[in-house]
């Protein structure tokens, strides 16, 4: 059984924000109204953290793309009262929008603030509704959503691989962010496959995980010489 994981090389990442945009388009993530954005209700499945370190003028800036970490021991699924968020055998932490009752307990429990909530019914101009990604279901008001590692792409990849009767190749299943990263800083693949790039990078001495001491075992691994 593969275990899907992401490696983000912070030394290569420039913080350009392309992953954020690619993600929003691929996953039909709603764009909230400006007033809502002002109230901190924007929805980014892939967000960007900016850290400033040091004293002027020796300032170091680190920009860290932050998707859902797809923890192996996810604090969010433990608290869900209705099985609306789950971890599958391949390590993907998913969200069932139609079952979610909107209690937002998972959001409160997530140490990484990776989840977002549909405070209102998502709205698009009529024209924009034509160009929605048909592979991803639209969410409704009052449910929690988050990065799925573009799990719908895995479905396509699996179908292709099954049709050709072969295993999934390394790099065949890529989420939108990894695919379009201009710095090639996002890697994605199977952590169980010792030949995969992700496996090798995850063993790098530069590898670290956010808040590793919490024991959540995130499957998004960062590389940086700075820490």
């Amino acid at each position: 059984m593969p275990k899907w994981a992401m490696v983000i090389d912070l030394d290569k990442c420039t913080g350009c924000g392309d992953c954020m945009a690619a993600c929003k388009v691929e996953n039909n993530v709603a764009i909230v109204s400006p007033e809502q954005a002002e109230e901190n209700r924007v929805m980014f499945w892939m967000d960007m953290m900016t850290i400033y370190e040091g004293e002027y003028p020796n300032i170091k800036v680190t920009r860290i793309p932050k998707p859902c970490y797809h923890c192996d021991n996810p604090p969010c699924i433990k608290v869900c009262p209705v099985h609306a968020t789950y971890i599958n055998p391949e390590g993907l932490v998913g969200q069932i929008y139609h079952r979610c009752i909107g209690c937002r307990y998972c959001m409160a429990a997530c140490p990484y603030t990776a989840k977002v909530f549909n405070w209102y019914e998502p709205e698009w101009a009529d024209e924009f509704k034509t160009c929605m990604n048909p592979d991803v279901s639209l969410r409704m008001k009052g449910v929690v959503e988050k990065c799925s590692f573009c799990a719908h792409r895995l479905q396509h990849v699996k179908e292709d691989a099954d049709a050709e009767d072969r295993p999934i190749n390394d790099g065949e299943y890529m989420p939108a962010c990894a695919e379009s990263c201009p710095a090639d800083a996002i890697f994605f693949g199977d952590l169980e496959n010792k030949e995969s790039k992700v496996y090798k990078l995850s063993r790098s001495p530069r590898a670290f995980k956010e808040l590793e001491d919490l024991g959540t075992e995130p499957k998004v691994i960062y590389l940086s010489k700075r820490e």
């Binding site: 109230e39 901190n40 409160a108």
Partner: protein, 447 residues
């Protein structure tokens, strides 16, 4: 005591009076309350229609007033059953006029509090998913279970001691006779019935205390089971229970003072009752401070960075006014007012109780919001301002509480008449016997 002996049964008429005499005041009160509740209901329907966006919640402050009020109301509910059970159990004779009042608070407030998580849902239409696809592993469902258990237990515990009084009302006849007949369960006041009732009450009394304690511990689990700084703490269980009893006593005192004033119950609720209860309040205030102190001491001593972020945010951040307000309301004011006999008047106690209730509400706010507003990762901190919807639902909830109380007192005596009678008839002798039995003497003369 001399006084009491002289009083005759028709003095207890004062307790029946509110049921049979309906004044203008009653209609006005109910009308005003209904207006408030209707407005709140309108705001809630609006919220269901538009989505939770009408509240002030956001990312990362995903929980706001509703959860604060949920914890707060459930805390208040401890007034009743727990206090009355403890007092009954310890055979404190002065309990007799106050147990019912206390139990009613529990039943009403618990229902209100229990509704809050549903108000908080983004998809209330899917609430049944809890039954069809629930996860008992979620602390939220522990709450559902324990609150249901506590609600059931406390309703039974309110109802059983009411049966003799209901029978009295049935016997007085009137339009609602069938209603009281139904509820009185055929009570005739026979010895056997008394025995059965007493036995049942005794069992319940023992049962209800651990349930009550567990309920609030379980509420605290909602927070402490997560890994969030400021929440992930083992002290939260007892801390919440202490806070709950603390706010419960304060709420009970407020209710008692209100009834004393409006129903002219000075004869039943005497200064001594308030003195005793306020002493308990003082003790709880000190205990509360001790727990708060321990809670923050462990955080500050350990100085884990994220924990410290939250603590500093509470003490110096935008919510500092609420933090220090909480300390003043919950500790400084009650300790000053209740430590000096000079201030320990009815007015003084009322003042202290009100500050404690406000302070405990602030405490819940201080637990829920600052932790959420300070995400562990380097994201911007959040701010939370409740919207009109949240305020109106809060005020609506308070109105439901008052209305519930008003209606209850319209149909049932607010003071347990038969227990007062029992006290008059039997307790003096019984207490004398009992006290004698405590006193040192030859072993084996008493049980």
């Amino acid at each position: 005591m001399e006084e009491k002996k002289k009083t005759t049964v028709d003095i207890d008429e004062a307790l029946y009076r509110p049921i049979y005499e309906t004044g203008k005041g009653f209609y006005i009160t109910v009308g005003v309350l209904l207006m408030i509740i209707l407005f709140a209901a309108f705001m809630y329907i609006r919220q269901v229609y538009y989505g939770l966006g009408v509240t002030g919640m956001n990312q990362p402050v995903t929980w706001g007033f509703y959860i604060v009020n949920f914890v707060f109301f459930i805390g208040i509910s401890h007034a009743g059953t727990l206090i009355s059970a403890i007092l009954r159990l310890s055979k404190a004779e002065w309990r007799r006029p106050i147990t019912r009042m206390a139990e009613v608070i529990t039943a009403i407030v618990l229902a209100i509090g229990g509704l809050h998580p549903i108000i908080d849902l983004g998809r209330p239409d899917r609430v049944l998913n809890i039954f069809t696809a629930g996860r008992l592993q979620s602390p939220l469902l522990w709450d559902v279970t324990s609150i249901t258990a506590y609600f059931t237990a406390s309703t039974v515990y309110l109802y059983l001691p009411m049966i003799p009084d209901i029978a009295k009302l049935r016997d007085r006849g009137g339009k609602l006779r069938w209603f009281y007949d139904f509820l009185s369960w055929g009570w005739q006041g026979t010895e056997h019935q008394k025995k059965v009732l007493n036995r049942a009450i005794n069992i319940l009394m023992v049962m209800v205390i651990p349930i009550a304690v567990s309920v609030h511990t379980v509420i605290s689990y909602i927070f402490s089971m997560t890994l969030q700084p400021g929440w992930h703490s083992t002290i939260f269980g007892p801390y919440f229970v202490v806070g709950a009893i603390f706010s419960g006593i304060a709420a009970l005192l407020i209710v008692m003072i209100a009834f004393r004033k409006f129903f002219h119950l000075e004869n039943y609720l005497k200064l001594i009752h308030f003195r005793y209860l306020s002493t308990l309040l003082l003790i709880m205030s000190l205990l509360w401070f001790y727990f708060t102190f321990s809670e923050y001491l462990t955080g500050i001593f350990g100085a884990e960075p994220h924990e410290m972020d939250v603590i500093l945010y509470k003490m110096t951040g935008p919510y500092a006014i609420f933090f220090w307000g909480m300390v003043i309301c919950n500790f400084i004011i009650p300790v000053i007012v209740l430590s000096f006999k000079k201030f320990k008047t009815i007015k003084g106690i009322l003042f202290a109780s009100i500050t404690v209730v406000i302070g405990m509400w602030l405490e819940r706010l201080n637990i829920v919001i600052p932790s959420l507003a300070n995400p562990r990762l380097e994201l911007s901190t959040g701010m939370y301002f409740p919207s009109l919807t949240e305020w109106s639902l809060f005020i609506g909830a308070l109105a439901v509480f008052v209305l519930g109380y008003v209606l209850f007192s319209k149909f049932f005596p607010i003071i347990s008449i038969w227990e007062i009678e029992e006290g008059r008839e039997e307790s003096i002798k019984e207490v004398e016997e009992r006290v004698k039995s405590y006193l040192p003497g030859p072993a084996g003369t008493t049980e």
